[in-house]
Symmetry: C2
Subunit: 525 residues, 2 copies
Amino acid sequence: MKLSGKNNIGFSWSASGSKTFRAFDPAVNDFLKEEFFLATDEELDQIMLLAQNAFSVYRKKTNAERALFLQAIADEIMALGDDLISRCVAESGLPAARITGERARTTGQLRLFAETIRKGDYVQARIDPALPDRKPLPRYDLRRMSIPLGPVLVFGASNFPLAFSTAGGDTASALAAGCPVVVKAHSSHPGTNELISLAINRASQKSGMPEGVFSMFYADRVLGIKAVEHPVIKAVGFTGSRQAGMSIFKAAMNRNEPIPVYAEMSAVNPVILLPGALQENGAAIAEGLAASITNGTGQFCTNPGIVFTLDNAATEDFLQELIKRIRSTSPGTMLNTNIYKAYQESVSRMKSIPGVVQIAMTEKIAGINEGAPVLFTVSAERFCSDHRLREEVFGPSSLIVLCQSLQQLETALGCMDGQLTATVHAGKSENGAVSDLLPLMMQKAGRILFNGFPTGVEVSPAQQHGGPFPATSDARATSVGTAAMERFMRPVAFQHFPDELLPDALKAENPLGIVRLVENHLIKG
Amino acid sequence: MKLSGKNNIGFSWSASGSKTFRAFDPAVNDFLKEEFFLATDEELDQIMLLAQNAFSVYRKKTNAERALFLQAIADEIMALGDDLISRCVAESGLPAARITGERARTTGQLRLFAETIRKGDYVQARIDPALPDRKPLPRYDLRRMSIPLGPVLVFGASNFPLAFSTAGGDTASALAAGCPVVVKAHSSHPGTNELISLAINRASQKSGMPEGVFSMFYADRVLGIKAVEHPVIKAVGFTGSRQAGMSIFKAAMNRNEPIPVYAEMSAVNPVILLPGALQENGAAIAEGLAASITNGTGQFCTNPGIVFTLDNAATEDFLQELIKRIRSTSPGTMLNTNIYKAYQESVSRMKSIPGVVQIAMTEKIAGINEGAPVLFTVSAERFCSDHRLREEVFGPSSLIVLCQSLQQLETALGCMDGQLTATVHAGKSENGAVSDLLPLMMQKAGRILFNGFPTGVEVSPAQQHGGPFPATSDARATSVGTAAMERFMRPVAFQHFPDELLPDALKAENPLGIVRLVENHLIKG
């Protein structure tokens, strides 16, 4: 499939600028041949105007119409076939099996959002009937539901070229909520992005959606921030580094009209190994943990970067097993040269920090742009006294923090910033210790795991992928699961309205058959 | 009841600073005798340490325990008796009947939050059961609920010395959510604040709540911002001016860890009068509108400051009736001298704007610190071209915008910033026109009213008191009604946890009997 390299402005494709860039194949260490055009300020303005106009049409589409649109996007992505897989592999260095799985996740979440809006409960309707005879004052009929915020800007992520990019979770949840989406494509995988944009365009046109419901552009940092500052944009979704996330956050907060920013930025995802767990199950934990550390060459936001354990004999045995597994795990191609270089620098820096001991590194030779699995240890005391030890190393690396007591372990955990996840492994008689640790784990993270590993984030109604700052810029939100839609909505109440003027979700006869809070009681149909 | 003038640090009272201030009685135009002490930096630190420690205890209190605490606060407020009413009247210039009503609103909302948390559904539990046999990967059991954010800083409001101050909506909803509260008392009514703080202290101690679950301090702007910046604070509630609200917002966003700010700042609450409504019902609308404009001397955030109407004969008749009513409405004492002076300045400025005509002013002579009801007109064209016409005038003033067509009216409405409310009055055959205006009204405001007046905000489950910026700093939130609790919570998911370690809200047998989303279906009990 031939790529145009153009920006996607509504239903058109445009390349009026002169600055271009090319994608890089980290596995062959060379640029791919196609040129992609950075958007101009004028192109960005055209995109925003179309998004604004599209909003007034798109917001009125029924849940069923939006659901068909989301399903059509999923269908059109599948229709891209192997062209999508091969381009995505070339642009990410990720294996075809992983990309195929990620495509399934991407289409699966589009279909899950379609199902959720078809059900209709997501508007969280509430009805307080009138009390005309109440004294001293009558009460008016009051009905409340959530409505879409407006056009949403989505920044594609480097590490999920499909599931957190052009048609990923942010885009799917914003479109489901009734918001047009403008995607700033990640420069690592522009071809993948063009193919997905094509699929979304086909779906928009086939399902009768307004031009501007989706647009996509390529940008440098300056133009990306201009998009954040554009008055048409009413919310931003982002997955990436803390530095980039915070520059977007600051720009959004300094607008004349500040807007919500959902930036998922960084996490080291502490894993606590209680002594009983290692005694009963040390080898299996070592196996699972090694897999979780090195899975996807460690390029997951839920990668377990810090492991807390007691400094005792059971830990010794466990570490021997873990070392063996890290040594035998092959290096993997990293997503791009910047990420590869950053990983090399982070590992070098870690080695240079006083008190840090490198206890394992893969025995396989790392090829070009390949990240080598590595393990370090440090004492709990040192861990709390040097903030560099608590920063994310993006890649297949983990730091074992050796604690002298459970109390010291809790203190060390308390030194940490907000996290996406916190995990505890416990033996059969350690529920008491878990119970003691739980309040702190809940304070630190958005998802708490018991006897598991943090990589692998289910897309489902009960998922919470988010967490206290700096894991995300807004701990109240999730970027995975059906609740992700709530990020792009706000409530509106209707007072004393005639039934025929109310949105269907609030009408007396409940034509959508949704669950509503009536007189403070949840009622279905 | 003798007032100490001290800051309330946990269960103690402290006055280690040297700066003092006194309350002012606007009705007698003189200071009240008691001195109140501004807190020192050290006192603020003590408060924050206690709040932090209290959180670890308070978050574990059951819903039933917290509910008893909220009810005890309501009881202790009532037990203050007439001392509270008389002090509050002296500090606000508001009539005793209004203060008595506001006390009922304050205790009523404390009891409503008690009822809501006793019911327990507010944690929004979600359960995705395990699918151990799923291919290619099994699914782990995942359970999600909302937990409290941490200590909340509340800024008392000038215009609701009870309902939006020390034990007002922000405090009640934060305490209900499980967050300790630190109140920065408004300098207009420190004595009222001390009495309410006493009541809360008594309630805390009687119901076994930890010291630090509530504290209160007096501060200048610098110390107020220091409190916003204090790392213990995890969210801020504020009701007041846009300038003060934005300085708090900026400080919170520039923290190392940015935190949510719920600032309810300003609104002019447009009221649209369609021609049929005036033909059918002009006199009654004039009566209702005049009452809404002058109610509480116009010192409500929902005061109707802008009225859109067509420039025709029916409007002429309506305006004559409205003018008559404004002329016969007495001036009222304003809350404090600053608000009085600001109102005088705003009215003078309004008169000086080209195209603005003053069409009515009360015929009664205004006494000292009394705001005089006043009406202006301006053309829709001028309205859009001068932003000063769209700014809030805090007091009993309204601006009638005369439009040449419904289309021009819609354009003029489109010029406006975000609002707390938008109202439309329509005749029997004007539902079509309302339907055309509704999308824009929904885009501009948090609450939409039909044939009503925006003052009077019901405290109920379906209420939405909030709206797009600059009405508030966070359109996703409400500061009135049971949903106000959601501002101070965030979700946490538990993956693969043994039942006995889960919070009661998530346990398999549902011991709290709450409504939960199980396998994406809402299930009760």
